[in-house]
């Protein structure tokens, strides 16, 4: 059963259609990657799904319910969580309080104490248990990314939209992040991951969506997508795409 479905979703800013007529489904338990060149509209699409920017046309369906007009806080409470490309902690709170806020407002805890317990469990899960009492502003970038993940996990999400959680990480850190995302998926969370790093896309996702100029230009298994003419063109331009394919064929 599909847990998240987009039907002809568009989002325009004045005359610019940042997202144009995008339709796709996310099945329960699936990891789908969303790729596309810079400015393709990937983050706008995430914003349209989570209610930050209400779609100007089309419908977003979550668990069979039309949620097109939801507000971000409603998306969070429904179990449609996201992380930000640019990390967004509450800087003056401790790491634990950051996550407890998510558990308290986005999750469904019985009490504040329970929210704290839940937060502590999620911190251990992402490997931040040892810095729980440090101020969020003192964390290193990889740890801030993990904090973002812990915050969204504390809301017990059904769908997680990961907006470039691996950007700016080095190779070792990415391996750690990959392992973490796999463990999140193993908990039964469906994941839509926006990613530039093909290593991540190829090793995690079962399906890839390619966005270009706000439109979905290709969809399919990752191995096919990296050889797709349209996809290569979107990244390199038609001239280079031709040369590239000739070279690939020659080799």
């Amino acid at each position: 059963m599909s847990i998240l479905e987009l039907r002809n979703v568009s989002r325009a800013f004045g005359g610019i259609k940042a997202v144009n007529d995008v339709s796709f489904t996310l099945e329960e338990g699936e990891i789908v990657a969303l790729i596309g060149p810079n400015g393709a509209g990937k983050t706008t699409l995430v914003n349209a799904i989570t209610g930050v920017h209400t779609p100007t046309a089309g419908t977003v369906i979550f668990e069979g319910q039309d949620v097109t007009k939801q507000k971000p806080f409603q998306a969070a409470r429904r179990g449609l969580a996201r992380t930000f490309q640019i990390v967004q902690p509450f800087p003056k709170m401790t790491v634990l309080e950051n996550v407890a806020a998510s558990a308290l407002f986005g999750g469904h805890p019985e009490s504040l104490a329970e929210a704290h317990d839940h937060a502590a469990r999620e911190l251990d899960f992402v490997g931040l248990g040892h810095v729980a009492q440090s101020p969020a502003s003192s964390l290193t970038l990889p740890n801030r990314k993990r904090l973002e993940l812990a915050k969204s996990l504390a809301m017990s999400p059904k769908v997680l939209l990961l907006d470039e959680v691996n950007a700016g990480l080095n190779a070792t850190e990415i391996d750690g992040a990959l392992d973490l995302i796999r463990r999140i998926a193993a908990r039964g969370v469906s994941i839509l991951i926006i990613e530039h790093l093909m290593k991540v896309v190829l090793s995690l996702s079962s399906r890839v969506l390619v966005l270009h100029h706000g439109e979905l230009i290709a969809e399919g298994p990752p191995q096919e997508m990296v050889h797709d003419r349209k996809v290569i063109e979107a990244y390199l331009g038609p001239k280079f795409a031709e040369r590239f394919q000739k070279e690939m064929a020659g080799a």
Binding site: P72, F73, A76, F84, Q88, F90, M93, E97, A101, G106
Partner: protein, 323 residues
């Protein structure tokens, strides 16, 4: 964070309120007047703290709530409502007004919100000045005086004001320790992230705005009964609206005792400069405000007193080593 809180702010506050309440017994008329002023501004600063301190929305609407409170209280009393009821009515009415206005201006953020909230003061003043048949317009309104000899009236006003201070302080304590306060602090630090973790930011902000409005409404109504005459320029004074946030920030915005400390310090400093530098007092006050914002951005309470005390001996030790 909310598990165990120190009881000291509550104890300190209780002692301070008790001390002020004793002013009519122990001190003269002039001091009682200052005590009333302190109580008034403490209540206003504590109210501002909820929207400006906890939520981080720099509101300059205090004078609007205060002024509307003045007029609602005065009009109710002129219609024959007993003073105490008129004060409550003013608080309730201002609460309703702030709910409606909050839904509009809280869509703005940062500087835009600050400007929007100043506009509320001016708009309220204009409405009151032009609506002559009801409000008396620029001529102002006479308010039925409180019964009793002047010292008794002063003592009564002081005690009522202190009652409002206590309620405003309790509102701060409850906000600080509740889910509401947690949500407001999240909004203060990062509103987008707050939205994204499931906080209904609009509702939370309106709640904070209403809480920050009802006490100034009551203060205004009590003030009107005390002075017996109100007019638009005095009630919707732009200076009041600027002073109150300055007081809260002077003591430490977003803390429980900050607004209390700030209000006392400011009122006393102002009194001192009025008395000694009649012509220059505003300039001196202005210089102090600028200096405070530059050198004490966190307020008096955020000062690390221990570090300051420690610095002295350490410097001496360094000198000894060098010598």
């Amino acid at each position: 964070m909310m598990a165990k809180k120190s009881p000291w702010p509550l104890i300190a506050m209780a002692l301070w309120v008790a001390a002020l309440a004793l002013a009519p017994v122990t001190l003269g008329n002039y001091e009682v007047r200052i005590a009333i002023s302190i109580a008034m501004f403490t209540a206003l600063a504590l109210s501002w703290n909820i929207i400006g301190g906890f939520t981080g929305y720099p509101s300059f609407a205090t004078a609007a709530f205060y002024g509307i409170g003045c007029y609602v209280g005065a009009l109710a009393q002129r219609a024959g409502v007993p003073a105490a009821l008129a004060w409550l009515a003013a608080a309730a009415f201002v609460g309703g007004v702030s709910f409606v206005l909050g839904a509009i201006v809280l869509r703005l953020k940062g500087h835009y919100f600050a400007i929007g909230s100043i506009a509320l003061v001016d708009i309220s003043r204009l409405v009151v000045s032009s609506w002559g048949e009801v409000t008396g317009g620029g001529n102002g309104l006479n308010v039925p005086l409180l019964e009793g000899r002047p010292p008794e009236v002063s003592a009564l006003v002081l005690h009522v004001m202190l009652g409002i201070v206590v309620l405003a302080f309790l509102a701060n304590v409850l906000t600080d320790r509740s889910r509401l306060g947690f949500g407001l602090r999240c909004i203060e630090q990062n509103e987008d992230a707050a939205d994204m973790v499931g906080i209904d930011t609009t509702r939370y902000k309106i709640a904070a705005f209403v809480l920050s409005a009802i006490f100034p409404g009551a203060v205004g109504a009590v003030y009107a009964s005390w002075v017996g005459y109100i007019d638009p320029t005095d009630s919707f004074d732009i200076l009041t609206t600027v002073k109150v946030p300055v007081m809260a920030m002077l003591g430490g915005a977003g803390t429980l005792l900050g607004p209390v400390v700030g209000a006392v310090s400011f009122v006393l400093l102002e009194e001192l400069f009025w008395a000694n530098f009649l012509e220059w007092n505003r300039a001196i006050m202005g210089a102090i405000v600028v200096a405070l914002i530059f050198f004490l951005p966190g307020g008096i309470l955020k000062l690390d007193w221990r570090a300051i005390l420690r610095r002295q001996p350490r410097r001496k030790a360094a000198e000894r080593k060098a010598g």
